[in-house]
């Protein structure tokens, strides 16, 4: 099966290469700064079944209009690397001069990136950083900072001691790993008095609810929860806490401090109600905006240097390209009503 898929993929790649061999020179030679209108941008969405990515998918056409990007109809790879490869080939054969993608499998995308590079088609990778293969720009929030911020917030609220449950994402995803590692490191160095229970929920609400319920039964003195993704972990966590009568305001000594990641509207509502305490807002709008911004710049032939940018972020050098690390603000009761947060702009 695997061989079959690889063989078909390789055959399709070879075809695509052959078909585009003659045209691939044109954008490279004629791609001056005047070619803004001429370059179509192809985009692939990674999935359509999570709240965060749905918001991103919705922002893309809006931001495309705003930035004046000639956007092709988006494809969707449904979290499947084989579909992403096929979609990329389709986009290229339809004349895309730059590709925006969000490869959820950062290793298996390498050969696609290589073949795109040979065709001189720049790639903007959103949310994930491909392991190898050339990328024009990675647009991504610093996921390590999520873990770091969550750790600092919880550590401070708990006064450096007590027990904390961490509802982790899938360890096969670089973002889940980054959050977990940063959280672990920060807890170990800054708050050694805090015990962390790591629960491998694999972005699954059912597992999260069972694990949290069991852990609370075992350790009724748990005082903090860190959820890697509000989209999947929020509802189950609130339900478990409610069943245990632990959904009380922060002033109550029984209150369990909850920090989330994502920044979806439901998390903001829970913060306003005092049910959870903070979330790190993963900027869906900025992801869409800067993905298209860099795709357009790539078509226009612009280049970027490592260093600070004009939008509060930092470009860093990777072995295979550049990465723009977008800011991800910590949202608490104090700034939850800030209209610039994307979670307050949806609907």
């Amino acid at each position: 099966m695997r061989h079959f898929v690889t063989a078909v993929g390789a055959a399709a790649l070879a075809l695509a290469l052959a078909a585009c061999g003659s045209t691939s020179e044109t954008p490279a030679s004629g791609g001056g700064s005047t070619a803004a209108a001429g370059g179509k941008v192809g985009i692939d969405f990674p999935r359509a079944d999570s709240d965060f990515w749905n918001s991103y998918n919705k922002y893309v056409p809006e931001m495309g209009k705003e930035l004046g990007v000639d956007l092709m109809p988006p494809t969707n790879s449904q979290n499947d690397i084989a579909k992403l490869v096929a979609n990329t080939q389709a986009l290229v054969s339809q004349g895309a001069k730059a590709i925006v993608m969000a490869p959820q499998d950062t290793g298996a995308i390498a050969s696609t990136l290589q073949s795109l590079d040979q065709k001189k088609i720049p790639v903007v990778s959103v949310d994930t950083r491909p392991d190898t293969g050339k990328v024009y720009m990675v647009v991504r929030a610093d996921n390590r900072a999520y873990g770091q911020k969550a750790c600092e917030f919880l550590g401070e609220k708990l006064g450096g001691k007590g027990k904390v449950v961490e509802l982790m994402g899938a360890l096969s995803s670089v973002n889940g790993r980054d959050r977990a590692e940063a959280f672990r490191e920060c807890m170990k160095t800054k708050f050694p008095g805090i015990t962390v229970f790591e629960e491998p929920t694999e972005w699954d609400g059912t597992k999260a609810a069972s694990m949290l319920q069991t852990r609370l039964e075992q350790n009724p003195d748990i005082k903090g929860i860190y959820m890697h993704a509000g989209g999947v972990h929020l509802a189950p966590t609130l339900q478990v806490l409610k069943a245990k009568n632990l959904l009380v305001p922060p002033t109550d000594p029984k209150h369990i401090f909850v920090v989330s990641n994502d920044g979806i509207p439901q998390e903001f509502a829970a913060i306003r109600d005092g049910q959870i305490d903070a979330t790190v807002s993963q900027p869906a709008d900025l992801y869409a905006k800067y993905a298209l911004f860099y795709a357009k710049a790539a078509v226009e032939g612009k280049t970027f240097q490592p260093g600070p940018t004009d939008h509060d972020s930092n470009i860093i050098q990777l072995p295979n390209g550049l990465e723009d690390q977008l800011p991800a603000p910590l949202v608490t009761k104090d700034n939850v009503d800030d209209p610039s947060l994307w979670g307050n702009q949806v609907k």
């Binding site: 359509a48 982790m168 229970f197 790591e198 609810a209 039964e217 999947v232 509802a235 339900q239 409610k242």
Partner: protein
């Protein structure tokens, strides 16, 4: 009752095992459960508390209902993979018909009281459609329900736009989150449905008919059993049970995510098969399937209590299921099928 007593013992004997061994087969997992209870008690002092064991039952109640549904279908010699998708679609679609557009609904604003009946109806409808394709259209149950697994999940992703539904009517969440007489309602409901399943399959003519059909369809037809009609009803009941499972799960989680139920079917088959239900039809009991669910729930619970690292959890989990299979094979003394 007196009428069915004769075919009852006949059916068991015709399995070639004799009444005693046939009964014993239900309970081959009991040593495994005892072993798990002992291991669990040593692993963590919290394990043996009522609170924890109650949690295990509550956490497994939705899965258990899908296992019940699958066991009925397997015993009748058919297959249904699409049940895991029904667990997501039935509550999602039912809720979307009653909640306002602002909360992600269709804007039909049907009375909230209809949500639960609608949910059951949708599950039954999926089952009926499966039955139509398999029985009237004469397609392979495996392929039909595999396609339906994708179709039903796709329908849910399509209508919800992939979003989770958060703003649900409290009455819809009630059954999955309420507590009756100190025990979660989900456990009561699951317990009652299992008891009904055990009694019907053991003592009622229609229940015995499932074994007859699963064992030898032609013989069952010759014996005057209306095979198609019985099977169709089984598919419809299974779909409705999937919907109940979805409702209990929704109540437990407080929201419906686009992937609710996703991947369950592997656990469902594992539970049914280690519980002694044959994939070839005609063999196994509901009680056996229940012990399979318990084994899976206890393993899950012990792994969580011990804090097995995420990277290794699936390996340990799978290995324990294999060991459970081997123990039940040794205890049962018969070749697995």
């Amino acid at each position: 009752m007196t009428e069915s007593a004769v075919p009852d013992s006949l059916a068991v004997r015709s399995r070639g095992a004799g009444l005693k061994l046939g009964r014993f087969r239900d309970l081959t997992l009991v040593p495994v459960i005892v072993l798990l209870l002992i291991v669990g008690a040593f692993a963590d002092p919290v394990f043996m508390t009522t609170g924890n064991l109650m949690n295990v039952l509550q956490q497994q109640s939705a899965l258990a209902l899908v296992v019940l549904a699958e066991a009925l279908i397997l015993i009748a010699g058919k297959f249904d993979l699409s049940l895991e998708s029904t667990v997501g679609l039935a509550p999602a679609l039912a809720v979307m018909l009653v909640i306002p557009t602002s909360a992600g609904g269709f804007g039909l604003d049907l009375p909230v009281a209809l949500a639960i009946p609608l949910c059951l109806l949708i599950g039954a409808a999926v089952g009926a459609f499966n039955g139509f394709l398999i029985l009237r259209f004469q397609l392979s149950a495996f392929i039909v329900t595999l396609a339906m697994l994708i179709v039903v999940r796709g329908l849910q992703t399509g209508i919800t736009g992939g979003k989770s539904l958060f703003a649900l009517p409290p009455s819809f969440l009630y059954l999955g989150s309420a507590t009756w007489l100190g025990i979660p309602a989900a456990i009561w409901i699951t317990g009652v449905l299992f008891a009904a399943g055990i009694v019907v399959l053991r003592f009622f003519r229609v229940g015995r008919a499932l074994y007859a059909i699963g064992g030898n369809t032609d013989a069952a037809r010759a014996a005057g059993i209306r095979v198609e009609r019985v099977l169709w009803v089984v598919f419809i009941i299974a779909g409705a049970l999937g919907a109940v499972a979805g409702m209990l799960e929704t109540g437990r989680l407080g929201g419906i995510s686009a992937n609710q139920g996703d991947g369950w079917i592997f656990m469902v088959f594992a539970a049914a098969v280690i519980g002694g239900v044959s994939m070839d039809g005609g063999k196994g009991t509901i009680l056996g399937a229940l012990t399979g669910v318990l084994v899976i729930g206890l393993v899950e619970n012990i792994l969580t209590l011990k804090g097995v690292p995420g990277e290794w959890k699936n390996l340990v989990y799978g290995a324990i299921i294999l060991v459970a299979l081997m123990i039940s094979r040794l205890a049962g003394g018969k070749a697995q099928d």
